[in-house]
Subunit: 413 residues, 2 copies
Amino acid sequence: MKDSLREILDHERARYEEFKNLNLKLDMSRGKPSKEQLDLSNGLFDCLTSKTNFVGAQDYRNYGLLDGIPEAKKLFAEVCNISDKEIMVLGNSSLNIMYDNLQRAMQFGVNGGVPFNKQGKLKWLCPVPGYDRHFAITELFGFEMVNIPMTEDGPDMDMVEKLVAEDESVKGIWCVPKFSNPQGVVYSDETVRRFAALKPKARDFRIYWDNAYMVHAFREDIELLNLLNEAKKCDNADIVYMFGSTSKITFAGGGISFFMASEANINYIKNLMSLQTIGNDKLNQYAHVLFFKTAENIVSHMEKHAALMKPKFDAVMEILNKELNGYATWIEPKGGYFVSVDLAPGTAKRTVELAKEAGVIFTGAGATYPYKKDPADSNLRIAPSFPPINELITAMEVFCCAAKIAYCEKNLA
Amino acid sequence: MKDSLREILDHERARYEEFKNLNLKLDMSRGKPSKEQLDLSNGLFDCLTSKTNFVGAQDYRNYGLLDGIPEAKKLFAEVCNISDKEIMVLGNSSLNIMYDNLQRAMQFGVNGGVPFNKQGKLKWLCPVPGYDRHFAITELFGFEMVNIPMTEDGPDMDMVEKLVAEDESVKGIWCVPKFSNPQGVVYSDETVRRFAALKPKARDFRIYWDNAYMVHAFREDIELLNLLNEAKKCDNADIVYMFGSTSKITFAGGGISFFMASEANINYIKNLMSLQTIGNDKLNQYAHVLFFKTAENIVSHMEKHAALMKPKFDAVMEILNKELNGYATWIEPKGGYFVSVDLAPGTAKRTVELAKEAGVIFTGAGATYPYKKDPADSNLRIAPSFPPINELITAMEVFCCAAKIAYCEKNLA
């Protein structure tokens, strides 16, 4: 056994030296759209010209409409299957909306509740592996983050229900319910219904439902139940904050975002938000409306994204299947931006380190866990979208080579 | 005397009835640019097309560049006469930057200091009359707002220096240093130098310098000393936060904003801001850069605004001079968006009420003071920019008529 491992190690080390000689400089660390994906939306820049009629509900070039222009609310309410009274269309960053909502809860409380700042040490539930930028926000605000294991149906709901029902200091949970970051899991109907029916001990508990990849299938689509609508059936609508954006539909560097919630939640938030800004950029909202026109057009637009994404994910799957069987496990995603790989425990950091030395940057080991601490040092996130496919293939070969070296080193030690 | 007042009252009441019969519906309440002003920037929409090269420091359609694109930083640093290391170019709302800075100070403290939330009852200096949206923010965060009388050179600096030097609970001051809202006062060189040399007892004291009208002269321009540069001379650079936007240069509904401060301040803020958003809309920043190209072009662009604004302010001045001499006092502004009128004490509310009954909405009495409380019930803000000039003239006639009625009623009571 050891002999065969040593053979593999020697072989991979030789291969690793060859990779190093290529002087690679590849960055696989972030889920950024590729140039070709961005090109798909260039027509948006032709939608507004000096000849455009800018007057809809008002002159969109002027102040006003804190919660977005009616046309944009209508369009994205339809995409999201909710009423246009339950949506605000805002600036370019849904992360910013999440952050601001949590900061408002810290400072002013949730819908008239005691400010989180005045409630002592609080807890936040974090399905793992998950999105590093989510965890960074709750870490910044001083929450004790509680890891909730992910299953193929979503977070472990037995654990979620128990913690939420028993512990008043649990104030929220981060969810990426469709094509989750990084695993690509779509929450099952049962999971969504159990979220909708949660009976939290804390009245100011909220589900932060970051539906970043709601129209981002690249294989056959999997429908996600609408949490807000399910929660209404349980007379529980206020428990839900839903977020979305066009960052990965049009432009990561200049899309629009939306916030969806019950009218009670929206009214409370709008009231506070009215002191923060007079309104967001309505002209970019208008450009998006003129570009897409209908919800159907967004669907067909996303098919073009899918056609660019699928070959990249296929390539990643092919290489993983060829090289890492027995060394690692992974889920084949049907949409979203990531592949999550579970390596042998104790080898993730070393794998990233080796890849980096060979010129390929992956998202840091641990990044998918709160406090950047993966207790097993096992999970890594692969972001296939940005690089051209030939670079992606090289980067994945380096990844597999590094993972195998780390595996052998660990087992020979 | 009373007889003559009664005669005036009868005369004005008759005139007032005639105004009422016109069924007016005019809104003079907010400082919004007019349609003609907005039209001046329509060329901006032709700057980005599907054929544009979007790659500058990076592909601006993608994620990145939290503090703005280099071209925009360079352009507005030049306009503001500072280094491009001292500027961040952000989203569409400078009010949002101010709010977020104060919220960050509440939650996390200023540059490593104790969070304002943990320092007990704090105070904020508010030059009066001033901008209602500023006061609303410090009211929301629970500051005790201290009125600082405005002089024709800016805030009463004896009072500012004394309060800031003696009282550690004084954490900031709102300033609109050029063409102040609502009086149109430009802070004198001496005032700016005294601000620059402030020696606050509180190390976390900051001057919130909202330079909203920095290029907004409509008569001969008056130069404002650059506070950051003056503060540097006093080794006091960290005391300054400066804000600006193109809301009244290009589009109130979709401009860009900037934050200017010492590198130490910017680094501290950028670090926290990196958890709030990945970046603001870079494409609108890029459109602004392509539209203006140079700082000189911004100056000539603003001359076109001035040509539209001057006749409106002239009309307001003419009517005030004709009708309200002896009833009120005012300052003739050389730029900015407002005219501030001091009526006879105890008549401002009644004037606004009468105008409203005749179909003309003015900014509420008291709005120019913290807590919406003008102790003298005297100051009103007129916003001449938005309405067409014929409507403006009618609105001003209603205003004067209402003010005279209120004056006579008060003095006959």
